[in-house]
């Protein structure tokens, strides 16, 4: 008897609960626009998950909404007598700490509202937070620095933020890359519209922006005031470990030897003299032999005949680059024979990298 009574009560309560939830959902629907609300129901038609994209309150002005977040609330069986679980997804313009703060405030709110509908309260709470921090608190993905008062920044259609200056640099570089790649293709493979489409650096959504006006923005404030970097003792220790590992692997024949593998393939055959000289002549190098060689290659690359076929150029630069190092080649080559290289020490390690630096490291 007791059991039956229990059962009856439980099913009655269930009915009442469902009724209360349906009521709450109806109220939400009345307040929010259809496209702002996404309600998932279970097979019995009871709402179990409510999703809504929340923006800061800026009146009707959506242009000045710089942040947003998707609020996802799972309604467990027994809600509202059981607290729902709150998730914040796809935060835009919000750093981790801000998202964590909203999350914990939302959870506290849910506890306070056990037994009462909490959805509307949650939306309001998130909205208040967003209104309060309606200046992106994350960092610009291009320069990795934050947004300061006075910084000019751009919000993309996908709600990602960049300093206007940084975004301009990205779009300009991407367009240059696109043009270069197009030129490399045979005519029939080229994009006939020849129209470059900028994409968001973070999510690759298409974006529309006016590079000219973006360029007029000043560089980010934080970048300008950042402190310099110096080599620490910790760094030196890591460098030492790296060098030691290199030597151990070299002794086992585990290091790739580009000379033995066909050195021609590794030589730069860039048509662009600026790019080529940059790579062969990294700033700050103190190694004389290397500097000499870089100068040598520089002349080669500056030569008016720089636009030769890849093959010709490869052979020519092979001659030019490697003649001065012939002796080096002789005693350094074929180091894939295990212990032959034992005991050459750090100088050898250094030479290896000096040489490597000049090589094309990714395939054409």
């Amino acid at each position: 008897m007791l059991c039956r009574w229990n059962k009856l009560t439980v099913s009655m309560m269930k009915f009442l609960v469902t009724y209360r939830v349906t009521d709450e959902v109806e109220a939400l629907k009345a307040i929010l626009l259809d496209d702002e609300l996404n309600i998932k129901a279970n097979e019995r038609g009871e709402p179990e998950c409510i999703e809504t994209l929340v923006f800061p309150s800026t009146g009707e002005d959506s242009q000045s909404q710089y942040v947003c977040v998707r609020l996802v609330v799972q309604l467990p069986p027994g809600y509202p007598d059981v607290s729902p679980s709150v998730n914040l997804r796809n935060p835009r313009g919000l750093d981790e700490d801000t998202v964590k703060l909203i999350q914990s405030d939302a959870e506290a709110k849910c506890k306070d509202f056990v037994g009462q509908p909490v959805m509307f309260e949650l939306i309001e709470l998130v909205r208040e937070h967003l209104t309060h921090s309606n200046l992106p608190t994350g960092q610009c993905a291009v320069c990795l620095y934050g947004f300061r008062e006075g910084d000019e920044f751009t919000k993309t259609e996908c709600y990602h933020h960049f300093h206007s200056h940084c975004l301009a640099a990205h779009v300009a570089a991407a367009e240059r890359y696109y043009r270069e790649e197009q030129e490399k293709l045979p005519q029939w493979q080229q994009d006939s519209t020849n129209k470059f489409q900028a994409i968001c650096p973070v999510c690759r959504e298409s974006i529309n922006c006016d590079v000219e006006s973006l360029w007029s923005a000043p560089p980010p404030i934080d970048v300008e005031t950042a402190t310099d970097f110096s080599v620490t003792a910790e760094l030196r220790e890591l460098q030492r470990q790296m060098a030691a590992l290199f030597l151990r692997q070299q002794q086992r024949g585990g290091i790739i030897d580009p000379e033995a593998e066909g050195v021609k393939m590794l030589l730069r055959t860039e048509d662009d003299p600026a790019a080529a000289t940059e790579e062969v002549s990294p700033p700050g190098t103190s190694l004389n032999a290397f500097a000499n060689q870089a100068a040598h290659t520089f002349t080669q690359m500056q030569h008016p005949q720089a636009k030769q076929t890849a093959q010709q150029q490869s052979e020519q630069s092979n001659l030019n680059q490697y003649q001065p190092r012939q002796s080096h080649h002789n005693h350094h080559g074929h180091n894939n024979h295990g212990h032959r290289n034992r005991g050459r020490g750090r100088a050898n390690y250094r030479r290896h990298f000096d040489r490597m630096r000049q090589t094309e490291s990714t395939p054409r």
């Binding site: 890359y177 760094l235 790296m242 060098a243 585990g254 790739i256 990294p282 990298f353 990714t362």
Partner: protein, 151 residues
Amino acid sequence: MTALPRRIIKETQRLMQEPVPGISAVPDDTNARYFHVIVTGPEDSPFEGGLFKLELFLPEDYPMSAPKVRFITKIYHPNIDRLGRICLDILKDKWSPALQIRTVLLSIQALLSAPNPDDPLANDVAELWKVNESEAIRNAKEWTRRFAMDN
């Protein structure tokens, strides 16, 4: 010496302060754009237990163009050739300035877990990987043991 972009300085600092497990990248003494890298072979891959040396160079217009990365330690992998060059889209046309040294190296580590013989760079390796995967994996393990283990 041309001033080093702040972004490179910041990345270097973060690499030191919050290192990525299984990855270390250290700038060179004389050239802060050149990094000495070690990537550990991922668990449950034929490269497990290996310490792979790579070199990474940040070109003049980094982060607007991709870093140049190459394996220095020999590795038996269908998407890495004899010279250590890596076939990976984010190093080429899918580069984005939102990627960083750490994300690039993580992607390379992920490539070790998921070889793709259908998009080969090392043709002989890819061929074997397709017709006789177990032998290819044996080779990869053997190369790892011979060249990349540090004991």
